[in-house]
Amino acid sequence: MKLVEALALAISGLSANRLRSALTMLGILIGVAAVIVLVAVGNGTSVQVQKQVQSLGANIITIFPSNQRVGGVSQGFGTGQTLTQADVDALNDKSQAPDIVTAIPIAQANGIMVYQSQNWFAQTSGSTPDFPQVRNYDFSAGAMFTTGDVNNSAKVVVIGQTVVDNLFSGDFNSAIGQSIKINRQSFRVVGTFASKGSSGLGNQDNVAVVPITAAWAYLSGGRGRNIGQIVVQATDASTVSAAQSEATQVLLNRHNIGDPSQADFTTQSQQDIQNTLGQITGILTLVLGAIAAISLVVGGIGIMNIMLVTVTERTREIGIRKAIGARRSDILLQFLIESMFLSGFGGILGIVVGAGLSTYLATIASRISTSFPPPVVSIPSVLLAFGVSVGIGLFFGIYPANRAAILKPIEALRYE
C-alpha cells in the first residue's frame, strides 16, 4: 500500500472522530508549546546574561589578590592585599604588556551617601580616570575626574543613574556641582554616568567612583592603600588571552614568584565569566526543557490511550480489511500513520502556539517585570520538539497499531 493511500486512510479515520482527535492533539500541542516557550525563556536568560557580561566592559580581565593565608589557612576569596599601585603601573607599561590598553586599580569602599534630606547606599569605587573607558560607561552630564584629581586626592565623585534617581530625583544636570556626603565626607559631583539598564549581575547604575587616592584617604577606614582588584583592558577580543598571560607574567615577575601555581593573585577574563554563566544558563534551559518534556510524554500517553480505544472500536473494520487482503504491515501502517498524524499535526500547532506565545512574551517582557528576560525562540528547540512529537506518535502508536495488526481475521470479524 502506498503511503499516500495510508495517509488518506488515516485522515478519514481521524476525521470520523473530530472532537476526540482534536483533544488528543491538544495534549501534544500543549507539550510542544511548553517546550518551545520554556526553552525560549531559558535562551532569553542566557542571551541577557551574555549581554550583561559584555556591558561590564569589553575585552576585560580582572585580577584579584589571592586568598590571604594565615598559618596555612585560607581566609576567603579576595582577602589578600598583594596588589599595589606599582603593579598597576607595570601593567600599563607597553614594553612589558603590549596587548594591554590600560589597567585600572579599584578600591571598594561602600558608603552611605547623603544629599540634603535624601540618603542612599551605593557601591563606591576608588579608581583612575580610565574607569569609564574600561567599564563601558558613558556620561549623561559632566565628565570624569582628572589625573590631577587623583594626584591631589580631590574629593570629587562621579555617580551612576540610580544614585541620581535617589538623591537628585533623576535630574542629572542639577546634580553636577552639588556636594554630597559619603561616609560623612563631602564630595563634589563632577559627572554622572548614563544608565546601562538593569542587570542580573548587580545594578551597574548604583555606582559612585572617586579618585582612588581619595578613597584611600577618606573612605577606607584606615585600611591603607589597598587595591581590591585591577581591571585590565585588552586591545581587542582576539588579544584577551595574550593580555591575560602578559598580565600574569608581569605580576609573577614583580612578586618574584617562579611557579605560577603559587601565584598570589588570580586572573579572570570576561570569557571565563561568560563560560561559567553560559554553563549555568545552559543547565537552566535544560531543566526548563525537561520539565516541559514531561507534558509532551503525557500527551504521548494520551495518544496511546486513544489509539487503543480506536483499535478496539474498529476491530471489526480491521477484520474486514484483513478478509479482503490487507497484510499485517498494511494495518500497522494505517494505525501508525494515524497516531503520527495526531502527534505531528499537534506538534505543528504546538510550534505555532509556542513560537507565537514566546514572541508575545518578548514584546511584553518589560511590562511583566524589569528582570524578566525576553524569551528567544531557538530554531533547534523547535525542530527538536517537532521531531520528538512525531517520534512520540511513533513510539506510543506502535503498541496499539501492533495490537491491530496481529488480530486474527476471524476473531476480528466476529467482534461485535
Binding site: M1, K2, E5, S12, A16, R316, E317, G319, I320, R321, K322, A323, I324, G325, A326, R327, R328, S329, D330, K408, P409, I410, L413
Partner: protein, 241 residues
C-alpha cells in the same frame, strides 16, 4: 459482465480437515474430518444447522483460519505452508468474500469500499475505473458516492459483491449472503451469483435455507462437523435474466 478467469484445474481440495477450538477448558470439535473438492466453475451450497461447522468450513476455505489437522489445497497449494502475507495475498486475489452482515467499511463511499482490495493489491493505475466497472456490473454505478449507511440492505450487499469481484478472483465465498435481506433483495443477489457462475466463476455458498440452496448445482450437507450428504442437483430455480 465481468470476464471470468481462464479455466484452471480443481481449485479447492479438502482432505480430512479437522478443526478444534479451545473455549476455556472445553475443546470444541467444529470439524471432525471433512473431505471434498470443488472444481472450477462449480456452484456449491454448504448447508447445515447452526453449530454444524459450516461457518468454520467457510473460514478455512476462505483462508481466514487454518485447519487443526488435515490438508487444504487451494489451487494445489497447501495453505498451511503459507505465511501470513501469502494468505493475505490469497484472500486478496483468489477469493472474494460476501458476508451475511455486508461488512462494508462505514464512513467510506461505495466506490472506496470497492476500491479497497485493489489498494491492498498494490494497484495504482486504473483503480478507480475498475472499481467503477465492478459497481456498474452490480447496477450501482449511480450510488458510487454514497456511504453504506445511505444504502438499503440489498444495495449494500451488491456493493459487497462488487468488492468481492473487483480483483477478479476465481472463487466467490458467500456466507449467508441473503440472511439479512428481504425476499426481493435476496432474489436479486442470488440472480447476480447465478450470472457470475454462468460466466465460469466458482461459487461456494453457505446457507441454511433450502430455497437459497436451490440456486446451487451441488449441495454439501454438514452435521456435527461431518459431511452428511454431498449431492449434485439440477438448478431448481429458473433465473430470468
Amino acid at each position: 459482465m465481468i470476464p471470468a478467469q481462464p479455466v484452471r484445474a480443481p481449485t479447492i481440495e479438502l482432505e480430512e480437515v479437522v478443526k478444534v477450538y479451545r473455549m476455556g477448558n472445553i475443546q470444541v470439535h467444529a470439524l471432525r474430518g471433512v473431505s471434498f473438492s470443488v472444481a472450477e466453475g462449480e456452484f456449491l451450497a454448504i448447508m447445515g444447522a447452526s453449530g454444524s461447522g459450516k461457518s468454520t468450513l467457510m473460514n478455512i476455505i476462505g483462508c481466514l483460519d487454518l485447519p487443526s489437522s488435515g490438508r487444504y489445497l487451494l489451487d494445489g497449494v497447501d495453505v498451511r505452508m503459507l505465511n501470513d502475507n501469502q494468505l493475505a495475498a490469497i484472500r486478496n486475489r483468489k477469493i472474494g468474500f460476501v458476508f451475511q452482515s455486508f461488512n462494508l467499511i462505514p464512513r467510506s463511499t461505495a466506490l472506496h469500499n470497492v476500491e479497497m482490495p485493489l489498494i491492498y493489491a498494490g494497484l495504482t493505475r486504473n483503480r478507480r475505473q475498475r472499481a467503477m466497472a465492478a459497481l456498474d456490473a452490480v447496477g450501482l454505478a449511480d450510488r458510487a458516492k454514497h456511504q453504506p449507511s445511505e444504502l438499503s440492505g440489498g444495495q449494500q450487499q451488491r456493493v459487497a459483491v462488487a468488492r468481492a469481484l473487483v480483483t477478479e478472483p476465481a472463487i466467490l465465498l458467500a456466507d449467508e449472503p441473503t440472511g439479512n435481506l428481504d425476499s426481493e433483495s435476496s432474489t436479486e443477489i442470488m440472480r447476480l451469483l447465478v450470472e457470475l457462475n454462468d460466466d465460469g466463476r466458482t461459487i461456494v455458498l453457505i446457507t441454511h435455507e433450502n430455497d437459497i440452496a436451490a440456486f446451487a448445482k451441488r449441495v454439501v450437507r454438514l452435521k456435527d462437523g461431518l459431511i452428511l450428504e454431498d449431492r449434485v442437483q439440477e438448478r431448481r430455480v429458473e433465473v430470468s435474466a
